[in-house]
């Protein structure tokens, strides 16, 4: 059994070893495998020790028996009488630096308030250490932030946080292919895009534009009339930056460029659906042909 387990360890180590060499497995995963291997290794060592212990016991018994010990004698040899235990609570009392209850009478202050007496126990040492430690921490804290300026106060912390986030974001976006903006957005009628756009619309736009974009607080989005342009690029821009004066919020911070493109396409797909309860036209009329051209381009 032991040979088998040792074999397993080597296999595991081999796996991690090759992984790091080939760099096939991402760094995080490698770490996890290594942690797992270490834990399994430690467990195996524990098991091996238990087995060894058992083996020693058996050997001792066999040897004793061969020397002619009786069963009772062997038993006595294997389990020597335990040392007498210290009275319960003594360790506890030491830890808390408490004096035994029996000595309490010496500590009573010769005075009482409505029958309440007080003991003249010293303040426990550990309590004072705790107090000193917090005072040192507090002093260190103030020195760190206000004298040596080694710690960052909130506005510097913020700068750091934003800078790190910016790096991470740029790194991600340089790899990811969803960098669409108002100039590059394309009109598509891919059903996947339209249904993704619909989900976003229902979640975010419905309260103001109505479930079928018929208009409510916001304008009707299904007719020929547009307040801020009806081309896909215009829609993208309106959604992204909002029109604060008209109550249209900016969605830049809430929707990714891909999501904005999806919802813009969904809105375009609704053109001419003529939903029930449509709001009256607002803005200027734009010939739908205009847009078709863009789409063909």
């Amino acid at each position: 059994m032991k040979r088998y387990s040792i074999g397993l360890i080597f296999t595991l180590m081999g796996v991690t070893g090759t992984a790091s060499a080939d760099n096939l497995i991402p760094g995080d995963l490698q770490n996890y495998i290594a942690y797992g291997a270490i834990i399994i290794m430690l467990l195996l060592i524990v098991i091996a020790m238990l087995v060894l212990l058992r083996a020693f016991k058996v050997i001792t018994m066999v040897i004793l028996k061969s020397q002619g010990y009786t069963k009772a004698e062997i038993e006595a040899e294997m389990h020597p009488p335990k040392k007498e235990k210290k009275p319960k609570g003594e360790v506890w009392n030491k830890l808390l630096s408490l004096r035994p209850l029996a000595e309490e009478k010496e500590l009573l202050i010769a005075h009482d308030y409505d029958g309440i007496q007080e003991l003249d126990n010293p303040i426990p040492g550990w309590f004072m250490y705790l107090f000193y430690a917090t005072i040192i921490f507090a002093g260190g804290y103030l020195l760190n932030y206000h004298v040596f300026h080694t710690g960052q106060l909130q506005y510097d912390e913020y700068k750091t946080e934003m800078a790190q986030a910016d790096i991470a974001k740029k790194l991600y976006l340089s790899k990811a292919a969803n960098q669409v903006d108002e100039n590059t957005v394309k009109l598509v009628n891919d059903p996947a895009v339209i249904s993704a756009g619909q989900a976003i619309f229902i979640q975010n736009c419905k309260p103001c534009h109505g479930e079928h974009a018929e208009g409510n607080v916001g304008p009707n989005l299904t007719d020929d009339y547009w307040l801020h342009g009806g081309k896909i690029n215009d829609l993208f821009k309106t959604i992204k930056y909002g029109v604060l004066a008209k109550g249209m919020p900016t969605w830049e911070k809430q929707l990714s460029p891909k999501q904005i493109a999806d919802v813009a396409n969904y809105v375009k797909s609704l053109h001419g659906t003529n939903p029930a309860g449509a709001k009256e036209p607002q803005g200027t009329k734009e010939a739908p042909a205009n847009d078709q051209l863009v789409a063909i381009k």
């Binding site: 408490l98 209850l101 309490e104 308030y113 007496q117 126990n121 507090a138 804290y141 912390e157 911070k253």
Partner: protein, 708 residues
């Protein structure tokens, strides 16, 4: 010398005891109602007087000042007489104190639902009630010191040090935090604005916890625990150290309620450093209490009163360790504004204040009625349902706090907020809020059972209104031998003790408040920040009346997760005309500091009428009465005048033109709403509140555009 005969006044103790139980049940019931409103907004019965924003202050005031307040007076009036071997100084003062305090509470129960509020947390009551509180507090002080002066006990026991510190500090806190300029019978403006107002408020709020919920209870613990367990106090030296350390350090810690706000960095750091130093002095009380039980732990097994005490002390220990940890800015940035804080305060309130109060009631009432407790079984039931109630309350709230804060701070790899819609995080924690209200209901049930048990106890016994006692009179002061320590000497001198306590608490007060209140450079001004228009000012007062700040903060902290969600972080200069500040302390809904111009007027109109129209699933109540109620513009003149007195730059004589400007702006908004087919007269309250909401955070955006 002959021993003197005298009588303890038990009737006043009994009265405060009954008031404790009644107000406790009322306060906790209101708490349960608002807890349910957080997942069933209709629980306000569509009634403006019972909305969360108006009765959350009623809950906090009722449990702090009515339940705990009456319990303090019960405990003090019982223990003070016995520790001093004297009857209370004046039965009349006792009576005025009792009835005056109940009247103050009744006035709170009436005015808070009506929307008369200063908006300062735990100090919401308007100026006439503030004056009444001051007077009654003085009555209490005179009565206490009168008793101390005629005492038959030379030295003051540790419990009384705590009572004296409580008296003097609460007086200072209340007066400084009630500096208001009245403009009518039930409306006033704080003389402080913005950052300064926030600092004063949280210096007060934090130390109301310290000196109303902590020090008097420590004093009571020092009397009742050794009595209940029949054991001596563990360490007199520890009493001295932790008393002085506690009152000195506690007063500094207020700014930890304002971390990552626009409060100057040095004040924030002081708040954190002193909060950490507070651990040991706070624990001093718990340790001295628990070690007093040494050799009496076998009694704890059978005696429900001691069980309450042990759980109470343990809850105190946990809350006073958690508090300093929450003060560390890294923890605070995560926990502040979340349900974690609600869990934290309830461990303290339900565990420490509640359980100690119950223990004292169960112990005192049978004694002054010369009988046994009616039912031990019921009291054991109370203990277990109460303990379970605390767990069922606290655990879901910790869970809710962690969940929501994690969600609010999560970003996608694209660098966008994972949950840009605040409401999504709210809906996620509704199940936890339901569980929390179940926990609260269990706790309340326990209190009702206790009320029954105590009532039956009173019925089976009869009150010993005047309990006979005797003690030797004090020898003249000049015959007293010299003391062996300075503190023993101080314990004989109540006035000196009070002055010492006062000096100790004033140190931190001055160091933190004075520079912020007086040095201009601490609050950098911003040129583009202008005073509110008359309509916005009226709208702001409606915002205060409806208690919006109980759920919505108005301060964006410098975190990526907040600037992405709300906009630029807040600057101190933005708040210079805010009398009072409205930063809030809990985000049940999103922050509103940058709400202005984010949505159209029509959106706000619909949202206030029924929030679920614009935000499906929202737990905000309907505010449809704002549409039907007419805005009271007769107050505009006095409001403008008052603001000018407080330093807001309205031109002289503007008060005459203010209402014309108000009408003009209101007309503009109602015309704008008309374009969206919303017909509403321009003289309605909703117009004013929309005007205010649309102004929030706009000035600083204007600043940005100008600089471009």
């Amino acid at each position: 010398m002959q021993p003197e005969k005298f009588y303890y006044d038990n009737k006043i103790v009994r009265n405060f005891g009954i008031a404790t139980v009644i107000w406790g049940i009322i306060g906790m019931t209101v708490g349960l109602i608002i807890a349910i409103q957080l997942y069933a907004p209709g629980m306000n019965m569509n009634n403006q007087y019972t909305t969360y924003g108006r009765i959350r202050p009623l809950h906090t005031n009722a449990v702090i000042f009515a339940f705990v307040g009456n319990a303090i007076f019960m405990g003090v009036y019982y223990s003070l007489q016995r520790l001093l071997k004297a009857r209370m100084y004046s039965d009349w003062l006792s009576k005025i104190h009792f009835w005056g305090w109940q009247l103050i509470i009744v006035s709170a129960v009436i005015t808070l639902p009506l929307g008369f509020t200063t908006s300062h947390e735990y100090a919401e009551l308007e100026w006439p009630i503030d004056i009444a509180i001051t007077l009654i507090w003085v009555v209490f002080g005179v009565n206490m010191f009168g008793t101390i002066f005629k005492r038959r006990e030379r030295h003051l026991y540790v419990a009384i040090w705590f009572y004296i510190a409580t008296f003097v500090t609460i007086a200072v806190l209340h007066i400084v935090n009630s500096m208001e300029l009245p403009i009518s019978a039930f409306k006033s403006y704080y003389i402080y604005a913005g950052v300064q107002d926030a600092l004063v408020q949280w210096w007060y709020g934090h130390n109301a916890v310290a000196f109303f919920l902590t020090t008097p209870y420590l004093g009571m613990m020092y009397y009742f625990l050794p009595k209940m367990a029949n054991r001596p106090i563990y360490s007199y030296k520890l009493s001295i150290l932790h008393f002085w350390a506690l009152i000195f350090i506690y007063i500094w810690a207020g700014p930890h309620h304002l971390l990552y706000t626009t409060l100057p960095g040095w004040a924030q750091s002081l708040g954190i450093a002193f909060s950490i130093m507070l651990i040991a002095p706070s624990w001093g009380g718990m340790i001295n209490g628990l070690l007093t039980l040494r050799g009496a732990w076998d009694k704890v097994r059978d005696d429900v009163v001691l069980k309450f005490m042990v759980v109470g002390l343990t809850a105190y220990g946990m809350a006073t360790f958690e508090g300093p940890m929450l003060s560390l800015k890294q923890v605070n940035g995560f926990a502040h504004f979340s349900d974690w804080i609600i869990a934290h305060v309830h461990v303290g309130a339900l565990g420490w204040n509640g359980f100690l109060t119950f223990a004292i009631l169960y112990w005192v009432i049978p004694r002054i009625y010369k009988t046994e407790l009616f039912s031990k079984k019921l009291s054991a039931f109370h203990f277990w349902i109460g303990t379970l109630g605390i767990l069922f309350y606290a655990i879901p709230m910790y869970w809710a706090g962690f969940t929501q804060s994690l969600m609010l701070k999560e970003f996608t790899p694209e660098g966008m907020l994972k949950y840009p819609n605040f409401l999504e995080t709210t809906l996620q924690i509704l199940p936890m809020h339901m569980m929390r209200s179940a926990g609260g209901a269990m706790y309340l049930l326990g209190v009702i059972v206790m009320a029954y048990n105590l009532a039956r106890t009173m019925m089976q016994g009869s009150l010993v209104a005047n309990e006979a006692a005797q003690a030797m009179p004090l020898a003249p002061a000049n015959t007293v031998v010299k003391e062996h320590s300075w503190h023993r000497t101080l314990e004989r001198k109540p006035i000196q003790l009070m002055i010492a306590a006062l000096v100790v608490i004033l140190v931190g007060t001055f160091v933190e408040l004075m520079p912020t209140l007086t040095i201009k450079s601490n609050i950098p001004t911003i040129a583009s920040v202008k005073s509110y228009t008359p309509l916005e000012l009226q709208g702001r007062d409606l915002y205060i009346r409806e208690g919006c700040s109980n759920c919505h903060s108005q301060t964006v902290r410098p975190f990526r997760s907040e600037t992405e969600r709300y906009g630029e972080y807040s600057k101190a200069g933005e708040f210079v005309y805010d009398h009072p500040f409205l930063w809030g302390s809990k985000r049940t809904g999103p922050d509103l500091a940058r709400e202005g111009q984010k949505y159209g007027n029509a959106w706000h109109y619909n949202h206030l009428m029924d929030p679920r129209l614009m935000s499906p699933g929202s737990i905000m109540p309907n505010y449809d009465w704002l549409i039907s109620q007419k805005l009271d513009t007769t107050t505009t003149r006095s409001k403008i005048n008052a603001m000018r007195t407080l330093g807001v730059p309205y031109a002289l004589g503007y008060e005459d033109k203010a209402n014309a400007d108000l009408d003009k702006q209101a007309k503009g908004i109602s015309d704008n709403l008309a374009t969206d087919h919303i017909k509403v007269k321009s003289n309605k309250e909703i117009i004013a509140i929309i005007a205010y909401l649309q102004r929030l955070g706009v000035d600083i955006k204007a600043n940005k555009t100008n600089n471009k």
